[in-house]
Symmetry: C2
Subunit: 262 residues, 2 copies
């Protein structure tokens, strides 16, 4: 089984490693920049190119892992000279139909995880959401996905976008809360590491408690005094004040299931 | 060394267990309600009371772990008949001075953690922030804290409130992001557990990457199309739409360090 990776970013890097580990041959890496293409091809020990016309035309899978805003044009460019093989993208919010009328066999291969180039991720437990434009493609995708993960789900593009949306909440927005916490402490000379036991416990709790049951703090208690104090402490950052207010109100509303004002 | 716990909530329960484990005698539990007082006294094998006047007057420490809005009145009530011992509270945002002119020796004993009654927490690595109204009290508090934790810091009330504020961000607001993620998935019949590998990896990353370096997703990429799609998907929840917009804008601003509009 031969795979071409289109893109050489965080996701392509991690996926490439997982495929190789599972014994699947990555034959070529395409990237816009020579540096990225070469870097990933060195890791995977394969060819690389920065020229769309030089992408090999005999692979079984072409997996696009590029920014959403360049995906559509890149598909047009690649598909102008390659007609066989299964074409896949890895984007949570892009429809499967982005390949429609451009190639015969296509689908989506969406691993639900946050990837950084320098952080090794074991794919085995990562949920992979797949979609294909035919039953045959779905079956082949399922086989491919099961080689690297034990959690494979077939899903429509419609539902997948909600998974991506919830992922933004529990990953990107959570990580941003960490950034804000770090900034607040740094302004007072306190290292971020003092927050780590609290961060670990918060994460651990939701593996056996519903997040709503696990909630603590001033907002769920409706403690207006503390909320007002905290908002004042952030007087030099109106964006954080606004986020804090809205968070507290929403936590209170969701816990009391009533639309009261804090 | 004899300790009286005033309050029998999540924090008092976990702290009582940790003190007992360290060989410190909890002699009595006071709570407003008989049920809570009895429950905790059963765990700690000690006396309990719901009558402030019955709180023993010969303990070495009186540790108040009650809601901030009842703390001040309760201190007045308890201190009306007890004059010796060291009086402590465990609140992140309350000043040490809440005890001023009421007793001679007082301070703060603030463990930075989220506590649930049914989730056992090992205190050993929890940072404990202490403050005393004299050098002697500080020294005694340090000894007490070091019996249950290896991370003890002396801190002013002024700085402690910023620690509490950052804790709200990295715990309560993070947990609320989990709640929202769960709700979005539940509306489409998908179990919360599919998010757990993503949640674990997001948390794990900040132990070796700065949160700002660890950030991924549409906001940090400035991907307006996805952001607009996501906001539309939440059309039945204007509060989430507002939070999502503000989060995305703030992530973008902080990553680009410029005040541009997404």
């Amino acid at each position: 089984m031969k795979v071409v990776l289109i893109g050489a970013g965080n996701l392509a890097t991690n996926l490439g490693k997982a495929l190789k580990k599972a014994g699947i041959e990555v034959v070529q890496v395409y990237s816009r920049t020579k540096k990225s293409a070469k870097l990933l091809s060195d890791i995977l020990v394969c060819n690389w190119t920065i020229d769309v016309q030089e992408i090999v035309d005999d692979a079984d899978y072409y997996i696009f892992s590029v920014k959403d805003n360049v995906l559509e044009q890149l598909i047009i460019d690649v598909c102008s000279h390659i007609k066989t093989g299964i074409f896949l993208h890895t984007a949570g919010s892009m429809s499967c139909d982005v390949f429609k009328n451009k190639v015969n066999k296509y689908g989506v291969f969406y691993p639900l995880q946050t990837f950084s180039k320098n952080s090794y991720v074991d794919f085995e437990n990562i949920p992979i959401f797949i979609e294909g434009n035919s039953i045959e493609v779905c079956q082949q995708l399922e086989m491919l996905a099961k080689k690297i993960s034990i959690n494979v789900y077939t899903l429509t593009s419609e539902v997948r976008q909600y998974i991506h949306l919830s992922a933004v909440w529990v990953c990107n927005f959570v990580n941003h809360c960490y950034s804000i916490g770090q900034d607040i402490l740094a302004q007072h000379g306190i290292p971020f590491k003092v927050l780590l036991p609290l961060i670990y416990e918060t994460t651990k709790k939701v593996s056996y408690l519903q997040p709503k049951e696990a909630q603590t703090g001033p907002a769920v208690r409706g403690d207006k005094n503390i909320i007002e104090k905290h908002i004042k402490l952030m007087h030099d950052n109106p964006q954080w004040q606004e986020l804090y207010k809205n968070f507290s109100q929403n936590i209170y509303d969701m816990s009391s299931s009533k639309k009261k004002t804090l």
